[in-house]
């Protein structure tokens, strides 16, 4: 059954955002947009989360953090880059300390551009990520099976 679709828990990380996108992400939780309608909850804990929402571009200081958070999430998981900075680094991409978009560090599944991204488009991004999660689940299961088979052969 596809319960994953019905209860996507997100974790929001601010890589080096100007807070514009962060405010829009939080706006999604307000009565106006109320993402809990879709079962979306902001958990703030990678171990509980299914979707990692990152705002802002990656810089030298937080490469490790982004990687760690991503690694601490159990499979299946998806990453959404919210805002143009997270997508490509935007005007900061040439800075000496900026690596660029999130995809320079971890695989990103959905890009939500905008400066700042609108709550509608963020919600849309999350809903898109749900489909990807399902696909990933199937892949993950397959990979697990293969690993198991390989283990038995050994």
């Amino acid at each position: 059954m596809a319960y994953l679709k019905k209860s996507p828990w997100i974790m929001h990380y601010d890589a080096s955002s100007c807070n514009g996108c962060d405010i829009e992400v939080l706006a999604c939780l307000t009565p106006m947009y109320d993402v809990e309608r879709f079962g979306i909850i902001n958990t703030g804990n990678p171990k509980h989360a299914d979707i990692l929402v990152i705002t802002g571009s990656v810089n030298e200081q937080n490469i490790e953090v982004v990687k760690n958070l991503y690694n601490q999430m159990p499979e299946p998981k998806a990453v959404i880059a919210v805002g143009i900075c997270a997508t490509s680094g935007c005007v900061f991409r040439e800075c000496y300390n900026v690596m660029g978009g999130i995809d320079k560090v971890i695989p990103v599944d959905v890009y939500v551009p905008g400066c700042a991204a609108r709550p509608e488009s963020i919600i849309d991004g999350v809903v898109t990520a749900l489909g990807i999660l399902e696909k990933k689940k199937a892949e993950h299961k397959k990979a697990q099976k293969e690993r198991k088979n390989a283990g038995e052969k050994k």
Binding site: Y13, N45, P46, E64, V66, N68
Partner: protein, 638 residues
């Protein structure tokens, strides 16, 4: 009868041999073998007498009374000398007073009193004997290994191990004597011997602090001894008492005669079992080597105090003084448990928890109904075993990690898995359902609810809050032990064989007692209660089954570990995305490596030792005044 005599005499002979043999020759073998003999003898006694009911023996040996008096006076002379030398004049005054009372009694009244039975045995003394025999001897075996390490760790302390083991075994002999004596003079004699043994062992290391604490213990116990002597004197001198100084006769002589000596002896019991305001001696006694703490200050000697109070519980029942004793015990339980929250020194936590549990026993005995006495005896049994185990574990850990601080025991389950596991059993035995202490606490709660309306609400409040803080301080200790740290380095292999020899049986016994407690209750405790009250407290069959189901679950659930051992993805703990080393270090701002330290809550502001001790002292002194007021006016409440 022979078995009784053997149990008193044999440890004494062993003690003498251990003292004489030069340089600890054959010490290990002698201690091991005699421990085995004592355990077997006490089990034999239990097996042959559990269903015979109270048995009285004259045991009228020639000169024995005179010999006891002689030894008492020798001890008194020694205390006199030691206290004068150390300028502890309070002890001097007390010992002089006490000896004067006893000598006057011996001269004026004793010749007129004819003793029929000096020795007796019933289920309560059987239970006590089993505790002393099994737990006491195991602790002596443990002491072999521990003291070896102790003297290696502390080169500055002179090695008096011959003397040490002499006192330990003499003490065991005295404890046996105490629980088998029917003649109050004899009880008093053994009582004084436990006091002096305790004094000698606390001061064993000879440091200034040890000496001071030894005297603190001595003075408080002498105060109790004085009350004991006064009780005997009263029985000898008061016309109504008619010179009854035999326990069995005293119990049947009615409140008019027995209440005053009962309260005086209970006061002695309160000092010996370190109830507030006398609790400080037991805490101070923790400077002694750990086997001493285990033997004297947790699992056996302090039990002598509560043993006497339990003996007199039927007399105390329903009297104002009895209720005051119950409240002293109750408040001691509450305050000592609370103080334990604020302590991080493992031995101090154990000391306060001992005081607290003794308080609960005293509270039960003070209430004195059949349910309460039943609960008190259960508490005594479970506490002795679990606490003995815990002390020994702490001692072993202390020598391996060189600290007795609970904060340093983090991750012990990785470093010393077996010891940590045994410690967990001991701690679970102290507060978790369905282990021992909780069964007893449950019985206690029921007893308190049914107690007289005068004290029942207060006692209920006490146990409600007391058990809440108990959960807190034990659970946080447990939590510290089971942390799985990533740095794995076992340091368990250097533990002495003698220590294992004592630890395994005690851990096994803790679990076994939980499984067997319906049997212990029905074959030993219930007949005892039935004999006195014509009423037997009982556990409902249903509840026994439920507790056994719980125990079964607790024992079976760890098997799920086998399933969880399967290959699973391991992640590091969440640290806000910081990269951490296995030992929880991480690189902080500006590239500085920082260490992460986790510490328990101690809530000093709420549960500070000094503050609560002062409150306890004030409260309990007040209650004690009421207790004596109760006997002075002979008021008997229903």
């Amino acid at each position: 009868m022979n078995a009784l005599f053997f149990l008193v005499a044999f440890p004494l002979i062993v003690a003498a041999i251990l003292l004489i043999l030069p340089k600890g020759m054959l010490r290990n073998h002698i201690v091991n073998i005699s421990a085995l003999v004592i355990i077997s003898a006490s089990l034999y006694l239990l097996a042959t007498n559990y269903n015979t009911g109270p048995m009285l023996y004259p045991a009228d040996y020639p000169w024995i009374g005179e010999a006891m008096l002689g030894i008492e006076l020798l001890i008194a002379a020694y205390i006199l000398y030691a206290s004068l030398r150390s300028q502890k004049y309070l002890a001097t005054i007390l010992i002089i007073l006490q000896s004067a009372v006893i000598i006057y009694f011996e001269a004026a009244y004793a010749p007129g009193i004819e003793i029929k039975n000096n020795v007796f045995i019933d289920q309560l003394s059987l239970i006590m004997a089993a505790i002393i025999g099994i737990v006491g001897s195991l602790i002596c075996v443990y002491a072999l290994g521990y003291m070896k390490d102790f003297h290696e760790h502390h080169k500055e302390i002179k090695d008096h191990r011959n003397w040490f083991f002499f006192v330990m075994f003499a003490f065991i002999s005295a404890m046996f004597g105490l629980v088998f004596s029917n003649n109050l003079m004899w009880v008093y004699f053994f009582w004084e011997i436990t006091t002096i043994c305790s004094y000698l062992l606390i001061g064993y290391t000879g440091t200034h602090e040890a000496q001071n604490n030894a005297f603190k213990a001595l003075i408080m116990n002498l105060l109790g001894g004085l009350a004991f002597a006064a009780a005997i004197f009263y029985l000898g001198s008061a016309p109504s008492a008619n010179g009854i100084i035999e326990l069995n006769e005293l119990m049947t002589s009615g409140k008019a005669v027995a209440l005053i000596p009962a309260v005086l002896i209970s006061f002695a019991g309160i000092t010996k079992s370190a109830q507030m305001p006398f609790s400080s001696w037991l805490v101070g006694a923790m400077v002694a080597p750990t086997p001493v703490s285990a033997l004297l200050h947790s699992s056996t000697m302090v039990k002598a105090g509560v043993y006497m109070i339990i003996r007199f519980a039927p007399v105390l029942q329903g009297s104002l003084s009895g209720y005051m004793i119950a409240l002293i015990g109750g408040f001691t339980f509450l305050l000592a448990s609370s103080i334990a929250v604020s302590q991080s020194n493992a031995k101090k936590v154990l000391a306060y928890s001992t005081i607290a549990n003794l308080g609960l026993i005293v509270a039960c005995a003070g209430v004195g109904t059949y349910e309460a006495v039943w609960a008190a005896i259960l508490l005594m049994v479970f506490h002795a075993v679990s606490k003995g185990l815990l002390f020994l574990c702490v001692g072993t850990v202390e020598h391996r990690i060189n600290s007795r601080d609970i904060e340093d025991m983090g991750g012990l389950i990785v470093r010393m898995p077996k010891i940590a596991f045994m410690m967990l059993i001991g701690i679970a035995g102290m507060f978790l359902a369905p282990f021992g202490m909780l069964i007893s606490k449950w019985a206690t709660l029921r007893a308190f609810i049914d107690a007289s309306p005068l004290v029942s609400p207060i006692l209920l409040g006490i146990i409600a809050y007391g058990s809440a803080v108990t959960v807190f301080f034990w659970a946080k200790w447990m939590g510290r032990l089971i942390e799985v740290t990533q740095v794995k380095k076992q340091i368990e292999d250097k533990v002495n064989i003698e220590e294992w020899l004592a630890l395994y049986p005690l851990a096994g016994l803790t679990v076994l007692l939980c499984l067997m407690f319906p049997l212990v209750s029905s074959t030993l405790i219930e007949p005892f209660i039935l004999k006195i009250y014509n009423h037997a407290a009982q556990l409902g069959q249903d509840n026994v089954i439920i507790m056994l189901i719980m125990l079964f679950l607790v024992l079976v659930m760890p098997l799920s570990m086998l399933y969880y051992r399967k290959e699973r993805k391991h992640l590091s703990a969440y640290m806000c995305g910081m990269t951490t080393m296995p030992d929880m270090r991480y690189t902080g701002a500006l590239g500085i490596t920082r260490e992460l330290a986790l510490k328990n809550y101690y809530m000093q502001n709420f549960f500070g030792e000094n503050k609560l001790y002062r409150i306890g002292t004030a409260l309990c002194v007040g209650l004690m005044a009421l207790m004596f007021w109760g006997i002075l006016y002979g008021e008997v409440l229903i």
